[in-house]
Symmetry: C2
Subunit: 401 residues, 2 copies
């Protein structure tokens, strides 16, 4: 019997308990012994809940109980999650967490402690919810040098962009709808400004490249400037607009960013709609692979946490090696990276002026929108920014993937 | 140092050697020691090849060399692969294979031998080429009861169907093009009749449900009857036609089949084009997930085999548990399964006759095709077959997913 303590009985925490209890028989078969939830740590009580008798309010009870071999952390936020998780690991208890803030900030340290203690710190659910992506990166694509990881990592914004693209909603209308459906929070900054996706890119990049990538170093641009008009142009160009979190490697330079991108409709990420997430991985041997599924939601996310609990249970006394060294990886200046840009300018801008500033461009026009819009040639981001400043009156610009 | 022997130096075998040698440094870091190819078994010699000195023609040399800890089998076909692999396992050597015929037929037995010997028999590349799917089923979605596994499992037919859908090619034209591009063989039956997909469904079903599913028991229908006209109707219905290999579970009944299906354009498998493969997995907790990538090709497939070699190397003396029991799983009669059907009949068929035979239907018409075409309501396959026999002059029928 493996005893588990769950920290935080919110959406994900209660989901983990539900998964472990509902699928107890099949899980026991896979692990070779039963997994039981012994404690649930929460500030609240849950009278009437079938697990009410497991609720404790003091972490020390869990800390001191040597029966507990696996701690599940679903509190979210850095503190007190960090303190509890570190204590658990130092006391020889494995940890499974869904907490992207914790993993992005302290992942390297917690992995190192787990390695030293011969236990495990696992975090499949911190990126992509129910989608297996951490394990595939660490344990499936092991024969490859990973060259790129790009993904639709935030379901809220993907839902909004899908609705804007399909129904012509404005950003505000899409946000309101997402809030009404419970996909977006009242204070939606973490989603719409790309902060959530940024933490996830930091985790994916650290795993893909094997070294700490600080989320503060990742250029992050949200979707607040995307308009219904942008989607009219996107449709004309047979492209979609997606909030992508990306990191990639070219000639031993590493880049990472979060921003809206125009993707060809043929791109596998282009068809990922609504609250679904997908992560595209390119390796030097396997070429393109993609992992798709529910990036959020109670049971899908809990399924991923529970799979980590199962892995902890199957690896008692054996550390699963995770290459994520604490030395910080220096990201290269995006200014040096070349790509094309889609640009919208006022109708009275002369095409000659545009070409003088941006070089040869491809003009795009859409019925009913009186503007000058175009796609530039390949430009370094620094050169594009200089040109945009010179032009002065750009309505919007979106990067092309 | 882990010494490896590669059986078969064809496309995949030489690819495995290339992956292990090209990515040797990163692989050594992940494993914790070097992996070296010591022997290559092939009937041929490869003068001038940098690995020519490793070539042997007699399996006994490998069998008797106790330095060899991992055997890579890329010969294809059941014999002599089965004899060599079984010998290797009985002699305590782990095996990684890309051979779907071998795994579909003898998987349960070889897994049991590996378990008993505390070594490993791994076969990630036998389904989906480079796409991680065996590991995700066995080691990622471990908290779920798997309810469905459906996939585009054959790149050749997916290429042909893509070309028929996008360019209006006939089956014959698409096959000719696929042959010219090297995607289809001169004798293309294994692909176009669905036999290849059938072996892969057998493997996926055995893994998903934990018991032997015999490929001979799986209803298999290829794409040879699909015509350019079918694609005209599909476009009108906003659907695509895909060769799906599926297995699923409803109320403790298990079903498996391979056949062309009409999928809504919104279905995640619908956008999978050309030679790409994708496998859709539904669990009772994680809901929908999908794994996408290159289902064939030298380096993608070799990447998956090499990842298995790495797993064997990381688990010397430790068996990775695979639940695939030898007791045969009885598949339920597809005749009892309800679905809708798309049906084409001659233009002179009276709609009244159609409704008398098939019940209430939805008529579909396409400019330029003088036929009576329709979608039935939900019908048991046995009832549909009886109706189709009664109608007598059906031009074609395709199942709806």
């Amino acid at each position: 019997m493996i005893n588990v303590a769950v920290l935080g009985y919110g959406t994900i925490g209660s989901g983990v308990v539900e998964v472990l209890q509902t699928n107890a028989a099949v899980i026991a078969k896979r692990v070779g012994e039963d997994i039981a939830v012994k404690y649930i740590l929460d500030l609240r009580d849950f009278p009437g809940n079938p697990n009410a008798d497991k609720v404790v309010h003091d972490y020390d009870i869990i800390d001191k109980d040597s029966d507990i071999q696996v701690v599940v952390e679903c509190m979210g936020g850095v503190e007190p999650a960090y303190t509890f998780v570190k204590k658990a690991l130092l006391n020889g208890k494995s940890v499974a967490t869904s907490n992207k803030e914790l993993v992005a900030k302290h992942g390297a340290e917690l992995i190192a402690i787990a390695r030293e203690k011969n236990i495990n710190f696992l975090f499949e659910a911190s990126v992509g919810g129910g989608i297996p992506i951490v394990r595939p990166l660490l344990r499936c694509l092991t024969a490859d040098v990973i060259e790129e990881v790009s993904g639709i990592l935030n379901g809220t914004t993907n839902y909004m962009l899908t609705r804007m693209g399909e129904e012509g909603l404005s950003f505000e209308e899409a946000l309101k709808e997402a809030q009404e459906k419970g996909y977006a929070e009242l204070h939606p900054e973490a989603d719409v400004e790309g902060y959530d996706a940024c933490r996830k890119v930091a985790i994916l990049s650290s795993l893909a490249f094997g070294q700490q990538v600080d989320f503060e170093d990742i250029y992050t641009e949200g979707i607040t400037k995307i308009t219904a008009e942008d989607f009219c142009y996107a449709a004309k160009m047979k492209k979609s607009i997606k909030l992508l979190g990306s990191s990639w490697k070219t000639d031993d330079k590493f880049y990472a960013m979060v921003c809206p991108m125009l993707l060809d409709n043929e791109h596998p990420l282009s068809g990922v709609k609504d609250v679904f997430n997908a992560i595209f991985v390119r390796g030097n041997m396997v070429d393109e692979t993609m992992f798709y599924g529910k990036g959020a939601g109670k049971l899908p996310t809990a399924s991923a946490v529970a799979a980590d609990v199962i892995d902890c249970a199957k690896h008692i006394g054996k550390n699963i090696k995770i290459l994520w060294e604490p030395e910080k990886l220096t990201l290269s200046d995006l200014g040096n990276f070349e790509r094309k840009y889609f640009v919208r300018m006022p109708a009275d801008t002369a095409e000659e002026t545009i070409q003088n500033i941006f070089g040869t461009v491809e003009m795009i026009s859409v019925d009913g929108i009186d503007e000058k819009a175009f796609i530039t040639g390949l430009m370094k981001e620094s050169a594009f920014n200089a040109a945009a400043e010179k032009a002065g009156n750009i309505i919007n610009r979106i990067r092309l993937d």
